[in-house]
């Protein structure tokens, strides 16, 4: 055996010993770690500095305790004792334990009132930022100017209507020809001996017009400008001609008189917008899978 080889053997023997020691040390640390994990439940764990206790993984903050103590103090004539303080903390721990247990049992998913409360709380959370926004006068004026119809009521119409039996094609044609020749509906009816339908001679709201004419003729009437005639419109066993005599678009009130309402509406829409954005984000991030027959 050469000296080189002997040196190599010595080096190999020293390396093997070193590896063995390392393995032993690792195994010891592993055993100690396992022991520490196994005995972990019995060992005291750290409590964050701003907490007074931890229930599971949830800390009970000193702030929460202070709030509970001040509420207790308000109900009590005498100063709080240590026993009171301990009781307050115990109540907070119990409350947290109940909440955690409720979540474990799926109460949040199954109890409609709990779900509703959670949804409400989340809606408030999502809209909290918008709540604090303060619109400028210019914002409000611009908002109002962009939406003139928001504060105006539906238009009102004064109309004349004539109805004829749908089965009497000749009568219908005569009426159609008469109005096509440029006569007003009233003139046409008079000339042909047709009766004017009993629609009140007054301004009528969409709902009122529906009462007298029915849904389809009323809808047609509301598309007319003064003087225009619609017809023949099929309305069951009759056909209806309707002429707009007057159309009153209600004027929106001056900005100053509805400023508070405009601001409330501005705020409402900001909140709605904030909520919509929040929901969009949630939907994007959620793992939602649909059944093939689910409505999409």
């Amino acid at each position: 055996m050469s000296s080189e080889a002997i040196r190599q053997d010595v080096t190999d023997a020293g390396g093997t010993r070193w590896r063995t020691r390392l393995m032993l040390a690792g195994a010891t640390i592993g055993l100690l770690a396992a022991l520490a994990v196994a005995l972990g439940a019995g060992l005291p764990r750290g409590v964050p500095r701003d907490a007074v206790a931890v229930v599971g993984e949830t800390p009970i903050s000193r702030e929460d305790l202070a709030r509970a103590l001040s509420a207790m103090e308000a109900d009590k004539r005498n100063p709080l004792t240590d026993a009171d303080r301990a009781l307050a903390l115990r109540r907070l721990i119990e409350e947290e334990a109940l909440v955690q247990r409720g979540i474990d049992l799926g109460v949040a998913a199954e109890d409609p009132s709990v779900r509703k409360a959670i949804v409400q709380a989340m809606v408030q959370f999502a809209t909290a930022q918008a709540l604090n926004e303060k619109p400028s006068e210019a914002d409000l004026r611009a908002f109002y100017a962009e939406r003139p119809s928001l504060f105006a009521s539906a238009p009102q119409m004064r109309v004349v209507a004539v109805a004829a039996p749908a089965a009497d094609a000749q009568r219908v044609a005569r009426l159609r020809d008469a109005v096509a020749s440029g006569q007003s509906l009233q003139q046409a009816a008079q000339a042909l001996g047709e009766e004017i339908a009993p629609v009140p001679d007054r301004r009528l709201s969409p709902a009122d017009l529906r009462t007298y004419l029915g849904p389809t003729p009323a809808e047609a009437a509301f598309r007319l400008a003064p003087g225009q005639i619609a017809g023949p419109i099929e309305a069951g066993s009759a056909v209806v001609f309707v002429q707009a005599i007057e159309r009153i678009e209600s004027a929106p009130p001056p900005f100053e008189s509805v400023r508070a309402v405009v601001e409330a509406e501005w705020r409402r829409r900001r909140e709605d917008g904030a909520l919509d954005r929040y929901l969009d984000t949630l939907r994007r991030n959620a793992d939602v899978r649909y059944a093939p027959d689910a409505p999409r």
Binding site: F151, D208, Y212, S237, A260
Partner: protein, 753 residues
């Protein structure tokens, strides 16, 4: 061993104690909650924006034509004892129907222009009245407060008077206030003293806790009902010696007569509408009752400007000469009259049932005839509890007895002497023979619905909630509520008057047969100057109103004199021959489901629970008007004049050739100038046949040699036996104009006409 025995005893004692606690606690409502009035569905347009919109709407110009608006001034919620009872699972109910539901139903389902809440005052408490006021104010806020809101909400209550004898009976009245302002409505609802307060409040014992045990998953509504009763009973009576305006708000106030009611309202400086309704409904009206006593000046007949002609309880319009019993002058005893062509008194039928049973038993014909006489007498002396005189009789055994078989959708046990026509024909000469007192009513219809569903008459669907038809869900529940079926005895039973007086509750009435007569309700229509609270109120006070049996028929009825017109409800003094014009357009046929405007304001689930997904949803096709019927009544010109000859119904029948565009007619009455008598005219616009729930409640299968019904088809009762059948029959739905009252000028000197 001894320890085991002690243990068993302790367990038994514990179980008994727990049972006792449950029984007492459930019975006294300790486990129940007082129900809220709810919050109306928010408008898709915020209330403040809506108000700003409406403030800018252009007002109607003076002198323009009137608008026809439709409403329902009579609806109950679970704040009424009977409504709560019918909402319970044991009666097939679908749970509470709070005030907010009525608001939402009017807006989204029936699409009404106006409505009023009218819960029974007899179940009221200060808390319930406060909550009702809050809910109707919220309802108005959701529809807007400006000049043309889409729904106008009124506040009212029902004074539910029932007397045990004809002398004590005045009938139900709705009290409705013009505004919702705190100082312009009653401090508290005023209840009717006597039977209704005893039945609906004082003697109400609540639901037997055994019912809650049997129906454990649904126990809470029973507990809530018992809490509802106890909470009402806890409210102390108001001091009867103090004027109404000096009473505290937190007491229970009662009025015994219409005069008392009016006095108390006057003391609070209130001028509400007081509207009699269901006047000829024999369910609770003692046989022999008439309108006559209600003309006494102390009962203020002049304060009743309107009357409900038609409701979900039937048509109170028509007079018939027959009598249900012939009462002694003091009303305490009666004898049974013979049947007439179209009418068999129930007391008579009582005799027939007993006679048939007796013959079947094998007794002699003479003996059985004697027992029939006895049975008729007994039944005639037991008032509305006549059915208790024949133990073991089922609803069908009574066949069509007691019913007006030739009336349009009559109420159960129609009482002709409290009909609208009788009321219009009579006068009271005692105080002022030159100007005798009389009723001058305008007509309206209503639903009288007890499930918070105003204006149900638009479609014949959902009988068990759109009508009052309800009842036990099975035989066991029926026995629990009404007791086990009694033995079919062959001798009638007489319960003496004094014993009947001490009894209260629905067992006193023929509940099961009644349940086959409930139908969807009518509507009140007004010719108003504008779509506003003030204009509707003015139209109601001016009697510019008409009634319909449910559909939205458009009706005009005017007296025409040259270019001048006097509309329905007018009072005219003239010696000229009167000429009239009447015009009507049939209601729009309905399509299934709800229109877009309803779906836009409320989600589909809510529409499903609120109105079973069926709303007022018109097509463009109108129903046809087939004819007008004119009724002429000449009120009594002298004391004792026979009413039968004064009512001409119909006075005229005017056929229509409606081609889908309505019908108009003209007529005059040359007799007016000849007879020189005050005369009343009104018209009925009759529509082509259409479906109505319980439109024909009794169908006779067998008749005897005299043509009297002996056997009927099984009734469509409210309990489980009729299943899901809506029991729709084709009837000629109609509209009734308010009368035009003509006074023939009196000579300046000389005798009264």
């Amino acid at each position: 061993m001894r320890r085991i025995l002690i243990g068993i005893v302790l367990v038994v004692l514990a179980v008994v104690a727990a049972g006792g606690v449950f029984y007492v606690g459930a019975g006294r409502g300790f486990f129940g909650h007082e129900l809220a009035a709810g919050t109306p569905n928010a408008s898709p347009v915020p209330a403040d924006v809506l108000a700003a919109r409406l403030a800018g709407a252009p007002p109607a110009a003076e002198g323009e034509d009137d608008l026809i608006l439709f409403g329902d001034l009579h609806v109950h919620t679970t704040y009424s004892t009977d409504a709560f009872l019918w909402s319970l699972p044991m009666n097939g109910g679908k749970g509470a129907h709070p005030v907010a539901d009525a608001c939402d139903f009017a807006r989204f389902c029936s699409g009404l222009d106006f409505w009023s809440i009218t819960d029974h005052a007899e179940a009221s408490t200060p808390l319930r009245w406060t909550r009702t006021k809050e809910a109707v104010r919220q309802c108005q806020a959701t529809a807007g407060q400006g000049q043309t809101p889409d729904l106008i909400t009124f506040l009212g209550f029902e004074w539910t008077q029932v007397g045990r004898t004809p002398q004590e009976h005045f009938g139900h009245k709705n009290v409705i206030f013009e505004t919702l302002n705190e100082d312009e409505v009653a401090a508290r609802p005023i209840a009717a003293a006597g039977v209704p307060t005893d039945t609906l409040r004082r003697q109400a014992t609540g639901i037997n806790p055994v019912v809650a045990l049997r129906d454990w998953p649904n126990r809470q509504p029973y507990f809530d009902f018992n809490r509802f009763i106890r909470n009402a009973q806890k409210v102390p009576d108001c001091d009867a010696t103090k004027p109404s305006n000096e009473l505290p708000k937190d007491c229970f106030e009662q009025a015994a007569t219409p005069g008392d009611l009016v006095r108390k309202l006057d003391e609070q400086k209130l001028k509400p509408l007081v509207i009699p309704h269901g006047s000829s409904w024999g369910f609770y009206t003692p046989p022999g009752t008439s309108w006559d006593k209600a003309l006494a000046p102390e009962d203020h007949p002049e304060r009743f400007r309107l009357i409900e002609v038609f409701s979900g309880h039937g048509n109170s319009e028509e007079f018939r000469p027959w009598q249900d019993i012939v009462a002694s002058p003091d009303g305490r005893t009666g004898f049974c009259p013979e049947p007439t062509k179209n009418y068999v008194p129930s007391c008579w039928r009582a005799g027939q049932i007993i006679e048939q049973r007796c013959l079947k038993e094998g007794a002699s014909a003479q003996e059985c005839a004697n027992r029939a006489i006895e049975a008729r007498s007994n039944a005639a002396n037991m008032g509305i509890a006549y059915h208790l005189s024949v133990p073991g009789a089922e609803a069908e055994d009574w066949v069509d007895s007691g019913q007006c078989t030739d009336c349009f959708v009559p109420p159960f046990m129609h009482r002709p002497r409290t009909s609208v026509q009788y009321g219009l024909a009579i006068r009271r000469f005692d105080e002022n023979p030159n100007n005798p007192a009389r009723f001058t009513w305008g007509f309206i219809g209503s639903s009288d619905n007890h499930r918070a569903r105003p204006g149900t008459g638009y479609k014949p669907v959902d009988r068990r909630v759109n009508t009052e038809s309800s009842g036990p869900v099975d035989q066991a529940t029926r026995e629990l509520m009404l007791g086990k079926a009694k033995e079919k005895v062959t001798r009638s039973v007489l319960i003496p008057q004094d014993q009947l007086m001490r009894m209260a509750g629905f067992q006193m009435t023929e509940l099961e047969r009644q349940s086959a007569f409930f139908t969807t309700g009518g509507l009140a229509a007004v010719h108003a100057k504008a779509r506003s609270r003030e204009a509707i109120w003015d139209a109601l006070n001016q009697r510019h109103t008409y009634a319909t049996s449910g559909p939205r028929i458009l009706l005009w009825f005017d007296r025409v004199d040259g270019k001048a017109r006097d509309p329905m409800g007018a009072e005219v003094t003239t010696d000229k021959v009167p000429t009239f014009e009447a015009r009507a357009l049939g209601a729009f046929k309905q399509k299934p489901g709800c229109p877009d405007f309803a779906s836009a304001g409320v989600d589909a689930d809510r529409l499903k629970t609120l109105c079973s997904g069926e709303c007022y949803n018109p097509t463009d096709q109108r129903m046809k008007i087939t004819r007008f019927e004119v009724v002429r009544i000449r009120p009594q010109a002298q004391r004792g004049e026979a009413v039968e000859a004064l009512i001409e119904d119909p006075f005229l029948v005017l056929p229509c050739k409606d081609e889908g565009m309505g019908c108009s007619v003209k007529f005059s009455d040359p007799d007016y100038g000849k007879t020189k008598r005050d005369t009343i005219y009104y018209v009925r616009a009759i529509q082509e046949p259409d479906g109505l729930i319980n439109g024909k409640p009794i169908e006779c299968l067998e008749r005897d040699k005299d043509g009297r019904c002996q056997k009927i088809k099984p009734l469509c009762v409210g309990d489980w036996r009729s299943g899901n059948d809506d029991c729709v029959a084709q009837v000629e739905q109609r509209a009734w104009s308010s009368p035009i009252y003509f006074s023939y000028p009196k000579p300046l000197f000389g005798r009264v006409q």
